[in-house]
């Protein structure tokens, strides 16, 4: 059925009308994908479109229910990840799969460590090879250190090193750039291109169009678990892809309405935490969206966590209105009117094994107690309107959140915090791993909330998002606020300059910046 762009030689990977369901949930209705050797193929689609499911079928994590799956010209049916790996498929999963207690090198070579005399592991050879890999990726990581304590970005780099070292003929990357900064992304892209030039096939999944257009040769769009279309990247445009993805046109991605800014709500003074951040002073006012920009690892999340009280700090103060918020107590912060949507949805935002209702009601449940009793019925009643307001897609409130797609999970987290009717909403990476459709929705929501007089502190690694949504931008570099820019003075150049602590003229950012403009436009 699919009108696939035909390449001269037969494709390396070919999936057609693949179907996969988990109990009642149909994750993939009819997935098709055809990838040629020597090309980079993008796979895009909204959250829950079935991209990761397809990846996992290719990887041998899941088995398809029906459909065709051909690899290097033959029908295959992988029963385990070992089988797919053995056939020459390397996969970077959306969730990192590192072993924290083992060394970085062992992580890369796990299961296929080079062996020397007497079948002993040859550690020297392994280290040397790891060092070479890191050199190629241009990073400086001690190959002997344990994976424990690596930043998310470094973890992702190890994943990439692992996949590259497999010497696979097909490399699948499920959102490898979600946690990487611009420079690291560029380096990854360079490696990807060189692999392509060696004649390997690559599949690249991302929610960022700039990356797709920068890197990929062809792109396949999916919607609702089904194949929609495949295009040469050169022959298509962002609006066209977006339209295919959401099945309709998306209007303004950054629907920021001018805000009426009121009284200061959050006042942070001289916040300091040794080795993490220093001299952090800022304020957020009612109705204002303040963007916290910076490179990954600059310490923005840490500042937010300290304000909310999940982390401690050494000195300084946090106030809401004129009341001081005691340190190290999320409970007190919530009581003071702070809501915090953390960056790691599955680990911090949600109890994924718990039901939608319990998640939504989890912060407000103290107030749901009637006559000393907290009942499931009360939770359901309280959760339903908020789930409805955010259009959470689930058929019953007792479904576990783990069965939902990333975007839907994010809606549950937002619903949970809006239910507390906060004065200040801190939102860390509001749209990480979220498709354009939902993204626009989230942005619209933020704008609306600001309109209602809620103060919003938004951390984002996506420059367009910061520039598009924030009334004021604070730039963080190495734990310090290096610039405060208002909506008019904030440009990609000024923000990046402050984020890297360089003068704007020294920056060779033009390419990124252009891309940003293109997308925002």
């Amino acid at each position: 059925m699919a009108e696939v762009v035909k390449a001269p030689q037969s494709p390396v990977l070919e999936l057609a009308e693949v179907r996969k369901s988990f109990g009642p949930v149909v994750a993939l209705r009819s997935g098709s994908l055809s990838v040629d050797a020597g090309s980079i193929h993008a796979l895009i689609g909204e959250n829950g479109a079935g991209k990761s499911t397809m990846v996992k079928i290719v990887a041998g994590v899941h088995r398809r229910d029906s459909g065709t799956f051909r690899f290097q010209g033959g029908d295959v049916d992988f029963g385990s990840t070992a089988e797919s790996k053995g056939s020459g498929i390397a996969v970077i999963y959306q969730e990192p799969t590192l072993f924290p207690d083992l060394s970085v090198t062992e992580n890369i070579f796990m299961g296929r460590m080079p062996r020397g005399r007497g079948r002993r592991i040859d550690r020297k050879a392994m280290w040397a090879e790891a060092r070479e890999l890191f050199q190629r990726l241009g990073v400086d990581i001690d190959p002997r250190r344990p994976a424990l304590g690596l930043s998310i970005a470094d973890q992702q780099i190890i994943e990439i090193a692992k996949a590259i070292s497999l010497d696979a003929s097909l490399l699948v990357m499920d959102e490898p750039t979600a946690a990487l900064s611009g420079v690291e992304v560029q380096r990854l892209f360079a490696v990807a291109r060189s692999l392509r030039d060696e004649g390997r096939a690559l599949v690249f999944i991302s929610h960022r169009f700039d990356e797709v257009f920068d890197l990929c040769d062809t792109v396949t769009v999916m919607r609702d678990g089904a194949y929609v279309g495949t295009h040469r990247v050169a022959d298509t445009t962002v609006p066209e892809l977006v339209k295919e993805m959401v099945g309709r046109e998306v209007g303004d991605l950054y629907p920021k309405s001018p805000a009426t800014i009121g009284e200061p709500i959050l006042q942070v003074d001289d916040l300091q935490s040794a080795g993490v951040f220093h001299d952090v002073t800022f304020q957020v006012r009612a109705g204002e969206i303040v963007g916290l920009a910076g490179l990954v690892g600059a310490g923005r999340s840490e500042i937010a966590r300290a304000v909310f009280g999940v982390d401690g700090y050494d000195s300084g103060s946090v106030r809401i209105g004129d009341r001081a918020v005691p340190p190290r107590s999320p409970r007190a912060a919530i009581k003071a009117g702070i809501a915090f949507i953390p960056e790691d949805r599955r680990q911090q935002g949600l109890v994924v094994d718990s039901s939608v209702a319990r998640n939504v009601a989890s912060v407000i449940r103290g107030g749901l107690t009637r006559g000393g009793l907290l009942t499931g019925r009360a939770e359901n009643r309280a959760a339903a309107p908020w789930a409805a307001a955010l259009e959470v897609k689930t058929n019953a409130l007792d479904m576990a959140a783990t069965t939902m797609s990333g975007g839907n999970q994010q809606k549950v987290v937002i619903a949970k915090w809006l239910a507390t009717t906060p004065k200040l909403l801190i939102i860390d990476e509001p749209t990480r791993g979220i498709d354009v459709g939902t993204k626009a929705e989230v942005h619209r929501l933020l704008s609306e909330l600001a309109g209602q007089g809620i103060a919003i502190l938004m951390i984002s690694s996506e420059l367009p998002e910061v520039l598009g949504m924030a009334d004021r931008v604070l730039v963080v570099c190495e734990g310090r606020i290096t610039a405060e820019l208002d909506r008019d003075t904030a440009t990609p150049e000024t923000v990046m300059a402050a984020a890297t602590n360089t003068a704007p003229s020294e920056l060779s950012l033009s390419k990124d910046a252009e891309m940003v403009h293109e997308v925002t436009a």
Partner: protein, 349 residues
């Protein structure tokens, strides 16, 4: 990643001096060494109080031979704990195998001793296999399963043995003398136990399979996603743990000579404690069998040293308890420091 990563070239191959410093630093921070140091200190202090604790003919032998049973159990337990599991049934396995050993000798009095060792290993492996099959294929928590098999194996043992017991006179003298035989003043049982520990340690450190056990314990889900043969490895860990418990049963028979249905009761927590004292993380992924062996040595030696030091029998368990907690706290402190160092290293890079 901070931004100046871009500018700095990858680390040059390090000089031999810094490598030596690394090794030395590693040793000083090593948990195994710390436990060993405590052990040595204890032996020295005790010997100062009563010289035949170390220098008496029996003293030296007992010092080495008494821990050999726990040594085997701790080595097996380490394998299992590293995979983020635990085997509580080892005490029952030990008892059953010890009794089986006695029964074998009663049935076939001139059975060659090596064959009995093999039988013990095989029988223990069989019991371990049951645990392993249930845990690995059932994907259910090992603590629950082995708590169940602890009760089942012990129950079977009691049903089988009833109030029958094996007496030293039922066992051939050649076998019993193994309990005290020495080779270059080192007791034979200790030598066997140390060889086993060395073999397990070598495997864990230098083979793919060994490293995979660590990986499985470090993050079982990732191991599954990664395509490691999780089921097979976990199964193997339980089988080896069972086999070593079986071997410990044969040791028990050789050393103590009399075996009643109480043999090996409640020794499982000691085996876990030995591993924990030796720095094996209870949630898998880290620790060495050397540490566990040192822990076993320490635990047993404390038991023997306290009365010599004049601490009454009754307070021994309190001391052991305090020691376990101390070990866990120490582990925590060391780990915190390592984490901080790693993060600092990352920030400086």
């Amino acid at each position: 990643m901070s931004s100046h990563t871009l500018t700095r070239p990858p680390a040059p191959a390090e000089s031999s001096a810094s490598a030596a410093r690394r090794v030395l630093g590693g040793l000083l921070r090593s948990r195994e060494l710390a436990v060993l140091l405590v052990l040595v200190l204890l032996v020295v202090v005790t010997t100062a109080k009563s010289s035949n604790f170390l220098f008496g003919g029996d003293g030296w032998r007992d010092l080495l031979v008494t821990p050999s049973i726990l040594l085997l159990l701790a080595a097996g337990q380490t394998l299992v704990i590293i995979t983020r599991n635990v085997d509580l049934s080892v005490g029952s396995t030990l008892g059953l195998t010890a009794y089986l050993t006695g029964k074998l000798f009663i049935e076939v009095p001139d059975l060659p001793v090596p064959l009995v060792f093999l039988a013990g290993l095989a029988f223990g492996a069989l019991l371990g296999l049951v645990n392993g099959l249930l845990v690995a294929f059932g994907r259910v928590p090992a603590l629950v399963i082995t708590l169940g098999t602890l009760m089942i194996y012990r129950g079977v043992f009691l049903e089988w043995a009833g109030s029958d017991r094996i007496n030293p006179s039922d066992l051939p003298a050649g076998f019993l003398s193994l309990g005290t035989d020495q080779l270059l003043t080192i007791p034979v049982l200790t030598i066997i136990a140390l060889v086993v520990v060395a073999a397990v340690g070598y495997y864990l450190h230098t083979s793919r399979g060994g490293r995979e056990l660590y990986a499985i314990g470090s993050d079982p889900d990732a191991a599954q996603l990664f395509g490691l043969p999780v089921t097979r490895r976990v199964l193997a860990a339980f089988v080896v743990c069972g086999a070593l418990a079986g071997l410990a049963g044969v040791f028990y028979a050789a050393r103590y000579g009399s075996i009643s249905s109480n043999a090996g009761r409640n020794i499982e927590l000691e085996a876990v404690a030995a591993a924990v004292i030796g720095g094996v993380a209870i949630f898998g992924g880290s620790g060495t069998v050397w540490g566990a062996a040192a822990g076993a040595f320490l635990l047993v030696t404390i038991d023997r040293a306290l009365p010599v030091l004049g601490i009454p029998d009754f307070w021994q368990r309190a001391v052991v308890g305090a020691l376990i907690i101390g070990a866990v706290v120490l582990d925590r402190v060391l780990k915190k420091r390592q984490e901080r160092r790693l993060i600092e290293a990352r920030d400086q890079s």
